[in-house]
Symmetry: C2
Subunit: 322 residues, 2 copies
């Protein structure tokens, strides 16, 4: 994450998370496995999810041990998901590096993803908290369910706002929610605080995905690291598409493209149409509402550095461009 | 499993496991997911692993609730593994039915496997036993590690007995071991009993895989449900191949085949050579030793129906032909 001040209250703990990830990737005695693990854990991502776990633990005194372990698990789970997602999407690069599936083959990617999934679960087990372990397992179900829903509803133009929100909850917000919920549970915070932080985390998770889906159309290829309009190309109906289809002309063009996805001229035309419409603004307004709800949710919490960071993190999610 | 008397002491509980599996496969509100789950849980396998969990729980009084939950989880994990294995191996059929990857595509199979993996973990969580949950996660790591080792050592003729045993521990015996260990832990048995049943389960797991690897060469295509000599075809070095390569002539032919795996005449010739040698007998002797060790391990346990079934189960593992 670029906005360093957000991470200031947890910078030492975040370094510990990074150490643990490096330790894990160096731990295998099987050379081929070590090479793969080093590859996937060497490229530092945004660390948004572990940051969330660490920040939500800042509302009750605790020694930080379990929370750091959980934050490590949360990032490992995210990495495992990316390995399988890249396999399913046949993506060539991720975070500027070749993907496991493109470089070592889909088969290796499936098994490596399984290994990292399971390893993340052993870290969660180390917290000794059954409630957190259960939430974690349910989240893995949600993540795969979200991806399956995306596939099942591919090219389905009747996929409306409600379906979209359900899908992005499973695909993205569930892990955000669990990251925040588990941070507060493991800090020993009272249930009312846990529920507040869970709500906050779910809302910013939904907003995060909405922004992702807008950037897919309005970002540059360099910013988003994939071709502009990839979602439409893959038949995935997102909020911008749902808004765009309210215009009859645009809907017809999208229908026409979904029936003939090789028509790249039409694809460019649709992207241009959407860019020049008010779809971007309306989608950002939607995300902004979620962010305001998230910020409102944590209002009752005591004022401290972590709360300030959570408020900044919420705003950062809207302002980011990659 | 055909040998019904083995299952007699646990037949009611095994029915409960089956009910839970059916319940799980019908539980999804996503029609496409429900269809997939019904497909994979509709074909009844040998249920060797859940049987092991139920039988090893028979040495300490318990209400059976947690044990049935665990036995369900163990079978779900096994099914998840098969879904990903069939994806990796590009298998067309399994248990006489089309595989998920061949019918719905590799992508769906990856995600469905993830979903069932995670679902199995939620069942283990329901036992509330952290030790069992941790062993379960470690076992998933072992399973994927074993498969990765198989890929990494493919066509490596220097792969000796020790490497082979390590690999089949990860690939197969680890889950057997966890099935038996968790059954006894959840029954509340003392640690000495747990260790005995863990040893027994690991040994029969190793023997199970050795027999599988022998059947791959000596079985008929109808019995084993895949082409004879599939392991060699896929470059996987198993105990029969290791024994066969002690003969200089046979080693040369195998080397030659591994360098040119499209030479199907040579493949048939090697299978014939191995079949007419003493490799089958020697491999069975190896498996038999493991079985004797397993039976010896449980000698100190009290005599009861479950012990009798465990002794029969050990013998059944050697005598099965599919």
């Amino acid at each position: 994450m670029q906005a360093f001040s957000i991470l200031e209250p947890i910078s030492d703990q975040l370094n510990l998370v990074d150490d643990r990830l490096q330790e894990f990737s160096n731990s295998s005695d099987l050379p081929s496995l070590k090479e793969l693990l080093t590859h996937v854990f060497d490229s530092t991502g945004k660390l948004a999810r572990p940051a969330l776990t660490l920040l939500t633990a800042g509302f009750h005194p605790n020694d930080g041990e379990k929370v750091v372990t959980m934050a490590t698990a949360v990032e490992m789970l995210h990495v495992a998901t990316l390995i399988h997602d890249d396999t399913v999407d046949e993506a060539d690069t991720r975070r500027g590096r070749v993907t496991v599936s493109s470089n070592w083959g889909q088969h290796t990617a499936v098994l490596l993803g399984d290994y990292v999934f399971a390893a993340s679960a052993t870290y969660v087990c180390a917290t000794g908290n059954i409630r957190v372990i259960k939430r974690f397992s349910e989240t893995i179900m949600d993540l795969s369910r979200g991806q399956m829903q995306e596939t099942a509803n591919s090219r389905n133009i009747d996929h409306g706002l409600e379906d979209y929100l359900e899908r992005i909850y499973f695909k993205t917000a569930s892990l955000f929610s669990t990251s925040g919920e588990s941070g507060s549970i493991l800090s020993g915070a009272p249930e009312s605080t846990v529920q507040i932080l869970k709500t906050y985390s779910e809302k910013i998770g939904l907003a995060f995905q909405v922004v992702d889906d807008v950037l897919d159309i309005t970002g540059t290829e360099q910013e988003i690291g994939k071709p502009v309009g990839s979602d439409l190309l893959n038949g995935v109906i997102t909020l911008p598409t749902i808004y765009a289809m309210e215009d009859t002309n645009c809907r017809k063009e999208i229908e026409r493209f979904l029936e003939d996805p090789s028509n790249s001229a039409l694809h460019s035309e649709i992207v241009k149409m959407v860019k020049s419409s008010d779809v971007k603004e309306r989608s950002y307004e939607y995300a902004q509402r979620l962010i305001e709800e998230a910020k409102l949710a944590i209002e009752p919490l005591e004022e401290n550095d972590c709360k300030r960071s959570l408020l900044l993190l919420a705003d950062f999610i809207i302002s980011r461009n990659n």
